[in-house]
Amino acid sequence: MSAAMREAYRELAVVAAVVVAIGGAAALLLLAMGFPIAGGLTALWTGSFGSWYVFTSASLVRAVPLMLTGAAVALAFRGGVLNIGGEGQLLVGAAAAAAVALAMPSATVTVPLVIAAALLAAALGGALWASVAAYLRARYGVLEVISTIMLNFVALHLVSYLVRGPLQEPTHVYPQSATIVDALHLPRLPGAGRLHSGFVVALTVAVAAGWMLRRTAAGFRLVAAGENPAAATSAGGIDVRVTTARVFLLSGALAGLAGGVEVLGVTFALYENISPGYGYTAIAVALLARLDPWRVVATAVLFGALEAGAGAMQRDAGVPSTLVSVIEAALILAVVATQSFRSRRQRPDVGEHVQPVDA
């Protein structure tokens, strides 16, 4: 079998696993929970891919933050950084973007500049949040899995505080910020329902991230440092600490950008439940994409559609939307299973017997 054919076969195996997992898991769960299978599956479909309007306004709108956070997780994991803190970085990014957008009256400066400043603030906010965990890892060897998860809760409480304190709306009644003026909303894409131009941002970022990994020296350093830090140092002369710190900050910046895009494109205000866990779903999105930012584009759309379909299923067929969470989990399991199956088959034949060495 040629390398290209093997590659195509691998892709096919993953796609098959995804389709079987979604259809099978959904049908089985509906059956087990006593809902009509046909009705549930129909609602899942019409609520996600059913029409152009639904696809863009529901599925793709949800895919935007998933694409950005998914790319953030993919980059981090490839670089050997287990950043589970996408959610917190997204929240801080959202808060930073809201603060900038609310602080700058749109009349004084040109609108695109304010939007750019708000998105930049979002990316910086996410990077700043990630830098705490990056510093703890570099300086004290604190596992980022733990520190980033903890920082997610800190970020949540930070947003809680902001929307009850400095950023609260003028009447001081609701725990949310004032609404950002219409002029600073990300423009909608023509003919695409409620889909905003943040989609273009997300698409560009994901493509650029994939291109960086494939084509640039910096991207290769990232992959090498993540794959084998000892060899990257010894054989590649790579400063692994610096590389690791950079990818951590970059990952945080992308997740923060997701928060900024969400505030300027969808919610137009900061409040506590601004993210339904995008930063966590991003891990599934990235894993399903096998940590390739280009594939993240597809998996983010898939997960966006699933989330949108879940809402429709609940509305139209009365099926609890948590069922979709179970489907997502089944999906991850199916993909992980096919991948570990493949890697087991790829083990080399042990052609040489290693002699025991008497020291």
């Binding site: 020296a217 992959v223 794959e227 060899a231 054989a235 002369g237 080399p348 017997h353």
Partner: protein
């Protein structure tokens, strides 16, 4: 020698007629060892002589193909270390088996049975310290301890299990000299209390200074058993290296002259002057080394474990800074480390990316994968690397082909300025005969093409086969030797060469 079942309790351990074969290698051939209670027994031999195998058998880690074992006069079968421990045998391995984040007491308690009573362990450790003059704080974390103290924890583990026979594998290889003296003194007093110590070592001086009895193994056989007071450095060296080398010394040119005349005729590639090197923990490993390595020669490096050759090689390869002194070397030195899976390759990445790894730290901008792909293909052809293709993960290659690719990458002249230089460390470890021969041919070809090649192998014969002279590292000092098994062997053991006497 008497039958082991003869039942003399004053003999702590008898191993007799031990055979052990691994695949095609006969590690031990009717080897024997007889350790008296109340003595320190040195077990000497070169790398691969069978010392460690013999002691692994005594500790129940390996089962002999043939032979008999008796402990304190009783014939025994050792099926596992648990049997050996129950019989009062303790072993301190070269590489410690401690949990760094746990305290000394917790580490000692780890191997116990039944209920965990840390306070009892702590008081027992205090009592042990008092009884044996062994300084150890039971409540300090192991990772905070020096290497010497960690070694004491290993010994304490054995003592707490009531070991009366202590086997130590190269215990001083990891210790600075003052700590080594301290340890040997302690072992002496431990033996004087009626216990027995087996000291596995390559170091002659050590054996002569402390041992009551000395057993020398060569190529799996016991070739010499002698009382420590009757042993001489010359006799022990001859036994270790083989009697054949003893008579060849007369009229041999002193090592250093020949070396300098060879080196001076070449363009120097490496030049060290009074170079001092330390390992990553800051301990000085090589002191005041001075030598020159020229273009177009293979210079061997030899040394016993912990002698400092590891640091010397890494400094030559530019992977370790020089503490004091001068070490001139080319900007790009190829390096083939002994643990290629850990230090040389990205196992799950394609061959092309593994070729691209070299120099990745300084590359800027975009990577021309097509160029590197073409270079990978040409390297694969030139070095006969058998692989499904340049895009296959390097994991899918056999060890020999992986090593050839690493060698090809490190020898690749594209990135190099004027003179090619490469440092290789145990380049054929784990390779079969055919792959070994191919790697040797590549190294010779590189030399013939004008490269400076530095070769370390723990197998001296490999060094002697390829190199034109040898840098011998012993306890931090670097000395030059010609291609002479006897001279190199003596220098490795810290003995004077005949020329110097």
């Amino acid at each position: 020698m008497t039958e082991p079942s003869g039942g003399d309790e004053r003999i702590a351990l008898v191993l007799q007629g031990i055979d052990k074969r691994y695949g095609a290698t006969q590690a031990l051939r009717s080897a024997s060892l007889r350790v008296r209670a109340g003595t320190v027994h040195a077990l000497l031999g070169e790398n691969g002589a069978g010392k460690s195998t013999l002691m692994r058998i005594a500790y129940g880690m390996e089962r002999p193909d043939a032979g008999a074992i008796a402990v304190h006069g009783a014939k025994v079968r050792l099926n596992s270390p648990a049997n050996a421990i129950a019989l009062g045998i303790g072993m301190v391995h070269q590489h410690f088996t401690l949990v760094p984040v746990m305290t000394v007491a917790e580490n000692v308690a780890l191997g116990g049975h039944g209920m965990l009573d840390l306070s009892r362990t702590i008081s027992e450790l205090h009592e042990l310290s008092a009884r044996t003059g062994f300084s150890l704080d039971p409540e300090v974390q192991v990772e905070r301890l020096s290497v010497a103290a960690q070694q004491r924890v290993e010994i304490a583990k054995a003592l707490m299990r009531r070991a009366r026979l202590l086997v130590l594998d190269e215990p001083t290889a990891v210790l600075p000299p003052s700590e080594s003296t301290e340890l040997l003194r302690w072992l002496r007093s431990f033996a004087d209390q009626g216990n027995a110590v087996v000291l596995i070592t390559h170091k002659l001086g050590e054996a002569l200074s402390i041992a009551d009895d000395v057993t020398v193994l060569r190529r799996g056989r016991t070739v010499l058993v002698v009382a420590g007071k009757d042993a001489t450095a010359a006799a022990l060296t001859d036994a270790m290296l083989g009697a054949a080398s003893a008579g060849e010394q007369v009229g041999k040119t002193p090592a250093t002259d020949r070396v300098e005349s060879r080196a001076s005729s070449r363009i120097p590639v490496f030049r060290a002057e009074q170079a001092t090197l330390a390992d990553t923990s800051g301990m000085v490993r090589v002191r005041d080394a001075s030598f020159v390595i020229g273009a177009g020669e293979i210079v061997g490096v030899a040394g016993v474990e912990g002698g400092g050759q590891r640091e010397l090689l890494r400094a030559l390869a530019g992977r370790l800074p020089v503490v004091t002194g001068v070490l001139e070397r080319p900007d790009m030195v190829g390096f083939v480390p002994e643990d290629r899976h850990r230090d040389a390759v990205l196992l799950d990445r394609p061959l092309v990316e593994n070729v691209a790894l070299r120099g990745a730290g300084t590359r800027r901008g975009l990577i021309e994968w097509n160029t590197i792909g073409a270079r990978t293909e040409s390297l694969m052809r030139t070095f006969d690397v058998r692989a499904p293709g340049p895009r296959a993960p390097i994991r899918t290659l056999s060890g020999g082909n992986q090593q050839k690719l690493v060698l090809a990458r490190e020898l690749d002249a594209d990135d190099m300025t004027s003179t090619a230089a490469i440092v290789v460390e145990n380049p054929t470890r784990g390779l079969d005969v055919r792959a070994t021969a191919e790697v040797h041919a590549r190294l010779r070809a590189a030399r013939d093409a004008g490269a400076a090649v530095v070769l370390y192998s723990s197998d001296i014969d490999e060094v002697l086969l390829l190199a034109s002279r040898v840098l011998v590292v012993y306890a931090g000092t670097v000395r030059e030797a010609p291609i002479d098994r006897d001279v190199v062997g003596r220098l490795m053991l810290g003995a004077e060469t005949h020329a110097e006497r």
